[in-house]
């Protein structure tokens, strides 16, 4: 079975639809959404509607920090722009959407795969995995052959070896065989708000039979997504960010 793993959608309906269509073309039959379904983008309700359909058909979803924030509470750890976006998002969500987000778990497991938004070590603390050391701790806590995480918005692959944990910068479209005798941590990049200088949406596809992982970049109509952000009165910087991919 081919599993599409989509992280950090951030209420970007155009990017989500483009990635889902791409994954379908690539033969995906199972879907996992790695949290931060909302926040920043202008389409939280439409995105959650679409994701609820996937959930009803067996997709796995986990909770991200922006999903958490959209449910209420103080957002003092967030920057000004993220806070603005969170308040705006809260105002859009109805009871159904809130219940959907509130039911999201922090982690999900499927056989030897573990899914988390930020860091398995302390899922609710929302740590960023930006070093091999952190990646190693995350893999230790996961106790799985392959862990998928989001949150950092940069596609990456970490793997355990004799001399420690190593980082690899994946090449879009190139299949990477992942042997079952070492541990791997895959960060597929962000669907709805790429930040690595490439404005195309990012996601990963794992082929269970072949044990291969592919990272993809999917160009989408980022201009429409940005226009909606401006029309909604969200901070201009969020629109610009989609255009620049940073």
């Amino acid at each position: 079975m081919k599993i599409a793993v989509l992280a950090d959608i951030h209420a970007n309906l155009e990017a989500l639809r483009a990635c889902l269509a791409h994954a379908t073309r690539e033969g995906a039959t199972q879907y996992v959404f790695l949290g931060d379904l909302v926040g920043y983008g202008a389409d939280p309700v439409a995105c959650l509607g679409l994701l609820a359909d996937y959930a009803a058909r067996g997709a796995l979803l986990v909770r991200g920090n922006h999903d958490d924030a959209a449910l209420g509470g103080l957002c003092e750890t967030m920057n000004f722009v993220a806070r603005e976006a969170t308040y705006w998002t809260r105002a859009q969500l109805g009871g159904g959407e809130r219940a959907f987000l509130a039911a999201l778990p922090y982690t999900a497991r499927r056989d030897d795969l573990l899914f988390v938004h930020a860091d398995v070590n302390a899922p609710g603390k929302w740590n960023y995995i930006t070093s091999s050391l952190q990646a190693g701790r995350c893999m230790d806590a996961a106790q799985a052959t392959l862990t998928f995480a989001g949150h950092v918005h940069h596609p990456s692959l970490y793997f355990a070896a004799g001399s420690g944990v190593h980082h690899f910068q994946p090449v879009a479209g190139a299949p990477i065989p992942l042997t079952g005798r070492r541990r791997w941590l895959a960060i597929g990049g962000s669907v709805g708000q790429p930040r690595d200088g490439n404005n195309a949406a990012a996601y990963a596809l794992y082929d269970e039979e072949q044990r291969t992982l592919k990272y993809f970049r999917v160009p989408y109509d980022h201009l429409s997504a940005a226009r909606k952000i401006l029309a909604a009165g969200l901070p201009e910087r969020l629109a610009l960010r989609l255009h620049r991919g940073e």
Binding site: L157, F159, A161, G162, S163, G164, H166, F168, V171, A174, I176, P177, T179, G180, R181, R182
Partner: protein, 476 residues
């Protein structure tokens, strides 16, 4: 789990039946196996995963499994099967029939022509590997098999690097990876993924075949390994007095300490070995002794302050050194077309640092050359054509060492050009399209056949209509 060492003949292993144990190395076991369902026989490789085995045993196996699965073509064994069995992980690959290059090396020193023949086969195999994004990193005679058809196949990819895959080999070790006698200076410094590292090892192999000696011996410690960063090998002509200068030039060009000073691609080595008369001789070819301690000291100082080179994928390295073939028909092409071909050549090689341009032309035998003294006439025509090619290239103002000239012979012009492009690993062919000449109506278009059958990119150059009209007006 049973130990893999106990696979006896007749044991059923996945879809294969074990026939015999071929080799038990430090890291893996190799068996010859037959397919149970009448499929292809092959070689079964299983890593040694016993208690106390070094983790690198498995990493080397994993790398080979991963990389063989991504390679294709006549220069590598095909991966027939791989996976997990009751005995642990395994892979089955094609058994390549032929003779190990180690057997040739045992008979060294070999005659220059034989060294060149083997070198062309090996360099072509390497270039094909590099084009598939892989650097071998452990090239030595025992890892090369000469097929009966003369082509070389590379084996043992346990230390290989793939530009699109995680470098599992490097991750397993803090020490330089490779065989001490053959390893390149940058590999010693821990830099991996540069195809020119294989070009260096190719130089070591050529040196061995030509002289019967290893240029840097077989050092065991780090100090011995690092000597090649500062000290030149003894010039091969000091060992074999009648070794031609061109061969010493090629070998020492491969063995330059700095990767930037070496051949940019294995294809360039293959091309020079195929056409010794076109090798530009420098001091390297004529050298009688190694550089003195002053040069060694300079290199030592330079190595101290050297910046690590920019990381590039293997194919990105090759892209810096394209091989361009310009097909020129000096008999039929017109001056405006010659000019247009030069313009296109300038545009295509502009900006690339290590490109090479081969100017090629096909001489067709005619009634005249089939007479009694035809061979003499053909020689004259050949020389005339060569002079014309030089004349065509002169206005380009390109450095001589980047240019090659070749007059090919044959009736089937497109087939000869394509064959030459294949042999010289051309990345790009530039060819002129003639207008609607009677010849073209009669024989079909050469350029369109080249464009459709060539193994690489083809640019068909046409003189624009308005330019033609301008010429007419100027004439009027």
């Amino acid at each position: 789990m049973e130990s893999t060492a106990h696979l006896r003949p007749g044991t059923q292993f996945a879809a294969y039946r074990v026939q015999e144990k071929l080799r038990e190395g430090g890291m893996a076991l190799l068996y010859r196996v037959a397919a149970g369902d009448g499929g292809e026989a092959g070689l079964l490789k299983v890593p040694k995963l016993e208690f106390g085995s070094h983790p690198a045993c498995y990493a080397g196996f994993e790398v080979e499994q991963m990389i063989l699965g991504r390679l294709a073509g006549p220069h590598v064994p095909r991966l027939l099967a791989s996976g997990e069995s009751d005995f642990g992980p395994y892979l089955v690959m094609e058994e390549i029939a032929g003779k190990s290059l180690a057997e040739f090396a045992a008979a060294a020193p070999l005659p220059a022509a034989e060294v060149a023949r083997l070198g062309v086969a090996l360099a072509s195999a390497l270039h094909d590997l590099h084009r598939q994004e892989v650097v071998h990193h452990d090239l030595k005679p025992s890892h090369v098999i000469l097929r009966e058809d003369g082509r070389a196949a590379l084996i043992d990819f346990g230390l290989a690097f793939h530009g699109h895959l995680p470098d599992l080999a490097e991750a397993e070790s803090e020490k330089p990876l490779g065989t001490p006698a053959y390893i390149s200076p940058e590999q010693i410094a821990g830099v991996r993924g540069d195809p020119r590292s294989d070009v260096f090892s190719l130089g070591v192999v050529l040196y061995l075949l030509a002289t019967g000696r290893l240029p840097f011996g077989e050092p065991t410690g780090m100090g011995g390994l690092r000597r090649r960063l500062y000290f030149d090998p003894l010039p091969p002509r000091r060992i074999v007095a009648d070794l031609p200068e061109w061969l010493q030039e090629i070998i020492l060009h491969c063995l330059e300490v700095r990767a930037d000073d070496r051949y940019a691609t294995a294809a360039q080595v293959a091309h020079d070995l195929q056409h010794p008369d076109q090798v530009t001789l420098t001091e390297r070819g004529r050298r009688r002794k190694r550089a003195g301690p002053l040069v060694a000291a300079k290199r030592w100082l330079a190595a101290l302050s050297a910046e690590p080179p920019p990381r590039r994928a293997p194919t990105a390295h090759l892209a810096l050194a394209p091989q361009v073939l310009v097909a020129i028909d000096t008999d039929s092409d017109s001056e405006p077309l010659f000019q247009a071909l030069r313009d296109a050549t300038r545009r295509i090689v502009g900006g690339e640092r290590h490109w090479r341009v081969s100017c090629g032309s096909v001489l067709e035998p005619s009634l005249l050359t089939e007479q009694e003294d035809g061979a003499e006439i053909m020689r004259g025509l050949h020389m005339q054509r060569l002079v014309e090619l030089h004349h065509w290239a002169q206005p380009l103002g390109l450095p001589q060492e980047r240019l090659r000239f070749h007059v090919l012979e044959g009736r089937d012009v497109p087939a000869r050009l394509i064959e030459y492009a294949r042999a010289s690993h051309a990345d790009h062919i530039i060819i002129g399209a003639r207008g609607s000449s009677g010849r073209r109506r009669l024989l079909g278009s050469v350029s369109s056949r080249v464009a459709s059958e060539a193994p690489c990119t083809v640019t068909v150059v046409r003189v624009s209509h308005s330019a033609g009209m301008n010429t007419e007006r100027a004439d009027a």
